[in-house]
Amino acid sequence: MFSNTGKPIFEFYGLVIREGVLTAFINVMLRLLSILGATLIFITQVNARDLIKSLECELGLPKTIAFATAVGLRMLSILERDLREIQLVRVERGYRRYPITPSDIGSFLRPLLSLGLERALWVGIAAELRGFSQRTTKRVGIKITYVDMCVYVLLIIQIIIVLIS
């Protein structure tokens, strides 16, 4: 709507699409895809649990955040299953499958939270019984290898080139 300027390219029942829209669309999509591509490369090469463990041991991430993230990632698949069950029950009761109104979102959130909190209660009790509060993190020093040095040097060169140009 705000980028619809320039020469008209396509018309559909009175709606005119101009070159400004295409340029803006390509601009935003390429930017998003480059960010997404970099992240996908990172995510596929790294196991999430190993990532959290190394963040805790090497970078000193507090155990609170490390534990919460690890449990949260574990719960993703379980919550996804709960979400599908909620959708099924809603359809059987004659409601919408997908939330559209804010009250729909509330009706999705309440059972998800209720089920999740029930699990969280037992996870919390189990963690406490296993001595979570007394647990100390073994810190491991960051090891920089030859490959890491090459990557850092390339990044610095890239930054210098950007600043110079």
Partner: protein, 175 residues
């Protein structure tokens, strides 16, 4: 009465659940944003979808009721969203950090003694400001001044609505 500050394993487990739920909501909200942006433009898109990206903070704070819970709820939700991953990728972490801090301010203003619907709505609303700033800085979403004002108002209103919904959802759960 002293404010409890120490996080127990139970609080962290609750935080994990909120992070997982928030991460899923954040990931699904991208589709809502793109559809509403295509249909209604940037202002309508922000009214409909932005509050969903701020929902982690009021959800966590209303549930856990300790200092720092709003920030952690939003930031961990963004971390889970990053690991899923979604369109925003690593920029989600920056948004989560900034929005979390802004949401935490809402509870700090009341000295961490109140975690009601008002505080939740305020926390959602305050998260709108850093979000609009980051959109301009990271994604060059800069419009004319009057449009920027409307966009900010839309983000703030959306955050307030969904913040209130999150608080009401937590309060209505039978525990």
């Amino acid at each position: 009465m002293s404010i409890p500050r120490r996080y127990t394993a139970l609080d962290i487990a609750h935080l994990a659940v909120v992070a997982a739920i928030a991460g899923i909501i954040f990931a699904l909200t991208w589709n809502v944003y793109f559809i509403s942006n295509a249909v209604g433009g940037p202002i309508v898109a922000r009214v409909i979808s932005y509050g969903l990206w701020f929902i982690g903070a009021p959800l966590a704070a209303t549930l856990i009721r300790k200092p720092g819970s709003a920030f952690l709820g939003e930031f961990l939700g963004a971390l889970v969203e990053t690991l899923i991953p979604t369109y925003g990728a690593f920029t989600n972490l920056i948004y989560g950090f900034a929005q979390g801090l802004a949401s935490e301010l809402a509870y700090a203003l009341f000295k961490y003694r109140k975690y009601d619907v008002l505080q939740a709505a305020l926390s959602g609303a305050l998260a709108g400001f850093p979000c609009v700033v980051l959109d301009a800085v990271l994604f060059s979403e800069i419009f004319t001044p009057d449009v920027m004002v409307f966009i900010t108002i839309a983000a703030v209103i959306s955050g307030a609505i969904y913040g209130a919904i999150a608080a009401l959802a937590v309060k209505n759960i039978r525990r």
